[in-house]
């Protein structure tokens, strides 16, 4: 069962995951960006965790909205507004709910992805986080339609996100800083696709 406590646990775990992967994500970003993606997310989720510990959130939606606002005002870069929008759209899906059923979880990730597409205007194969999240949402929808439970839906999503993430390696970047490198962006894994994969994986490890 996924409830408010599960959401908070997920966000707290994300802080730990991004702290552990700060170097790795920054390393990926130094190959095709500006060497800050891990630093940005570590700063952002540390701020979110602090904020959540100080704030009394009345419901699930408020938890995600607080996360969104804190990310927007602490991350900066491209990923700040993008992940901020992801959590804002996800929070709308949780409005008036005390528990998330299978369909709600899929709807939440899908709404988040739509928010990222709306804000960043990237398309599949542009070599961005969209390339991890799009196949993940598709796989989750399929699993949902097949009657899978939360755990399995998330595992299918993670599997697809991981594939999507490694599929960014041969891509030529068309959005974000990596696009300035032209052909030289080929052969490197996108940092944002990697952090999106980690986000889903962290949920899959916790929720069932």
């Amino acid at each position: 069962m996924v409830n408010q406590e599960s959401l908070v646990a997920w966000i707290e775990a994300l802080q730990e995951v991004y702290a552990e992967n700060k170097e790795y994500l920054t390393q990926l970003d130094s190959a095709i960006g500006d060497a800050d993606h891990g630093i940005n997310l570590d700063r952002g989720f540390t701020a979110v965790r602090r904020k959540l510990s100080e704030t009394k959130c009345e419901d699930m939606s408020a938890v995600l909205k607080t996360a969104s606002m804190t990310l927007i005002s602490s991350v900066g870069g491209a990923s700040g507004p993008l992940y901020g929008t992801f959590f804002l759209r996800a929070s709308a899906v949780c409005a008036n709910k005390t528990e998330l059923a299978e369909a709600d979880i899929v709807a939440m990730v899908e709404a988040g992805l739509e928010g990222i597409l709306h804000r960043g205007k990237a398309r599949p194969n542009d070599k961005t986080m969209v390339d991890a999240l799009t196949p993940a949402v598709n796989a989750m929808k399929q699993a949902l339609a097949a009657g899978s439970g939360v755990k399995e839906i998330l595992e299918k999503g993670v599997e697809a996100a991981e594939q999507g993430m490694t599929d960014t390696i041969p891509m030529l970047a068309k959005k974000g800083r990596a696009s300035y490198l032209g052909e030289r962006s080929i052969g490197h894994q996108d940092p944002g696709a990697t952090s999106s994969y980690l986000m889903l994986k962290t949920a899959a490890n916790l929720w069932n």
Partner: protein
């Protein structure tokens, strides 16, 4: 990594405190959210101009706050765009009732964060316009990509638009002037070394003593191409050719030139670069009417330079010559 730092997390703040202490006659610094603001802001009835971007490019943008240039600058973390709450607070602090122009460099992060800020300000009833600077000829332009980066022309746009606002132009006119500068400015950069983002602790890319990166931006991103180091004359020729053929600049044109250091290149070398560039312009019948040689838009401790050419007419030149009084640019006062 060897840097003059106390604690990496405090670097931006402690540096801002230094700016506030050193230039208390020109600017104030606001913290949480961070922005540098003109001492006499808001100036009633004047269009206000704001810019912002990651830290690590000093003196841009904070060093350009003051009379005749920016009303406020929003510094993000090192190489990371500032956040919407900074731009929102800065916009509110400088709005003198005539509207606010956001000068935004073309990076996805800067665009998205400024967009969110503009939405917040407009909701609060402040008239906000944004002009995006995208002058980097090293990047191929295309409708399907993020487009060209905003680099050196930003400095010239901030100076010229600041003068337009100071003489009383309305928001629409200042926007026009800014677009005109962007349309006529072109830049190209090159690096001899990488730079070290303090929080990362090591150079962003490896490069040997015999190589250089051509077509770099201002965030330690690798450039378009890596090649063997050449004499400065050949490097400047290569850069100038790309810039000149892009606009294109033609015989009879008048230009403002900026030869800019990336942070770790001695002025002696920048003047040598200027000399090579001057010879090229002379040979092509292009007249350099004004020039800046020095460190204006840097990339931490990177060695290298960028060259900016801005084609000017009487209007732009008059605005360029108007008085400016900021920590990093000062004349006519």
């Amino acid at each position: 990594m060897k840097k003059l730092i106390n604690k990496t997390e405090n670097l931006v703040k402690e540096s801002l405190a230094g700016v506030a202490a050193a230039h208390a006659d020109l600017v104030k610094v606001h913290y949480d959210p961070n922005f540098v603001v003109r001492i006499d802001a808001p100036v009633r009835g004047k269009v206000a101009i704001i810019s912002g971007g990651g830290s690590g490019h000093e003196p841009m943008h904070g060093g350009f706050v003051g009379r005749g240039m920016l009303d406020a600058a929003c510094p993000g973390d090192v190489f990371t765009s500032p956040t919407p709450d900074q731009m929102e607070a800065a916009t509110k602090a400088v709005d003198g009732g005539a509207g606010v122009l956001h000068i935004v460099k073309n990076y996805t992060g800067d665009i998205l964060n400024f967009e969110m800020a503009a939405e917040l300000c407009q909701a609060a009833g402040i008239e906000v316009a944004a002009v995006v600077i995208d002058d980097d000829v090293a990047v191929k332009d295309s409708l399907y990509t993020a487009g060209r980066r905003g680099v050196g022309t930003t400095v010239l746009a901030e100076k010229i638009c600041g003068a337009a606002a100071e003489r009383g132009d309305n928001l629409a006119k200042v926007v026009d002037v800014c677009r005109k500068v962007n349309a006529n400015g072109r830049t190209m950069g090159m690096a001899l070394t990488s730079c070290t983002v303090p929080a990362a602790g090591r150079p962003t890319f490896e490069i040997s003593d015999t190589e250089m990166e051509i077509g770099i931006g201002i965030h330690g991103e690798p450039g378009r191409e890596r090649m063997a180091l050449k004499p400065a004359k050949e490097i400047v020729e290569m850069m100038a050719n790309v810039i000149l053929s892009d606009l294109p600049f033609k015989s009879g044109d008048q230009v403002i030139v900026m030869v800019n250091g990336m942070g770790a290149t001695p002025l002696m070398e920048l003047y040598l670069v200027y000399n090579e560039l001057n010879k090229i312009c002379q040979a092509k019948g292009i007249t350099i009417v004004r020039q800046l040689v020095g460190n204006y838009i840097t990339s931490l401790d990177m060695a290298g330079c960028s060259i900016t050419l801005l084609k000017v007419d009487e209007e732009l030149l008059t605005l360029w010559d108007a008085p400016v009084h900021t920590p990093a640019l000062r004349w006519g006062v």
